[in-house]
């Protein structure tokens, strides 16, 4: 009874298994170690050379820009002062126009009271920020005030 069952056993193929490929396959080498060192040094030297050229150019540009700024600075300052004085006149006129119906008000004073009593009457008393922007649109006020806070 037991001999009637034929069992099939798992066995290697005829001729045996193929050999296992365990050997290392190295990547193809294009450069030797010395060549790579030489290349590194060469490329770095070339890069430094170009960097140096660029650095010099940037320094030159900076000098030129600084010179230009220094050259126009007095003019910008003068323009600002001129605009400031013109605006002082505009403010004076605006004040005269605005306060003409207010009793006891004189231009440049607080209800006839001079701001500085010992200064000669024609001395320029520089306004504080609020006074300078007293006649301005609140929008302009805030623009300038934030500029003042930021800068």
């Amino acid at each position: 009874m037991a001999d009637a069952i034929i069992r099939k056993q798992d066995l290697p193929p005829p001729g045996g298994y193929k050999p296992i490929p365990y050997k290392r396959i190295p990547a193809k080498q294009f450069f030797s170690g010395y060549a790579m060192f030489a290349g590194y040094i060469g490329i770095t030297a070339a890069g430094l050379y170009l960097y140096n050229l660029n650095y010099k150019q940037i320094k030159k540009d900076e000098v030129e820009m600084r010179s230009a700024k220094m050259a126009i600075y007095p003019m910008l300052l003068a323009e600002r002062d001129r605009e400031y004085l013109k605006q002082l006149r505009k403010n004076r006129d605006a004040e005269a126009e605005l306060m003409k119906d207010v009793p006891g008000w004189e231009v440049g004073t607080y209800y006839g009271e001079r701001v500085y009593k010992n200064l000669p009457p024609d001395t320029l008393v520089e306004p504080i920020f609020h006074e300078y922007y007293a006649h301005a649109d609140p929008k302009e006020w805030y623009r300038r005030a934030y500029l003042k806070l930021l800068s």
């Binding site: 500085y116 009593k117 010992n118 504080i128 007293a134």
Partner: protein, 101 residues
């Protein structure tokens, strides 16, 4: 008039009295010196009357109250005129250019 003679005088008030002044900061230097010269000449009692203008100028320079009050009065008047419809459209405000101050 605080600052001219302390309520209780001691070596400590003498040492620290000179720390706060306008002489090193610059802006009100002239007014303060005028006031102190005047007060020195007349003393505290008479100086308070005789140096009134100097004292007032120095106070104005120190706290800018008159200039600020001027601003408040002008702004109030302008707001009133705008609300009443006297100032319209372009005449409402006289705005300076932004970089002028």
């Amino acid at each position: 008039m605080q600052g001219i003679s302390p309520f209780l005088r001691s070596p400590f008030t003498d040492i620290t009295g000179c720390i706060t002044s306008h002489q090193m900061l610059g802006r009100c230097q002239k007014q303060e010196m005028q006031m102190m010269d005047c007060m020195e000449a007349y003393g505290l009692e008479r100086g308070m009357k005789k140096c009134g203008d100097f004292i007032e100028d120095f106070r104005e320079c120190h706290n800018l109250r008159k200039q600020y009050s001027r601003f408040l009065a002008m702004r109030k008047e302008r707001d009133r005129q705008i609300a009443a419809g006297i100032l319209k459209d372009d005449k409402k405000y006289v705005s300076p250019r932004i970089d002028s101050y």
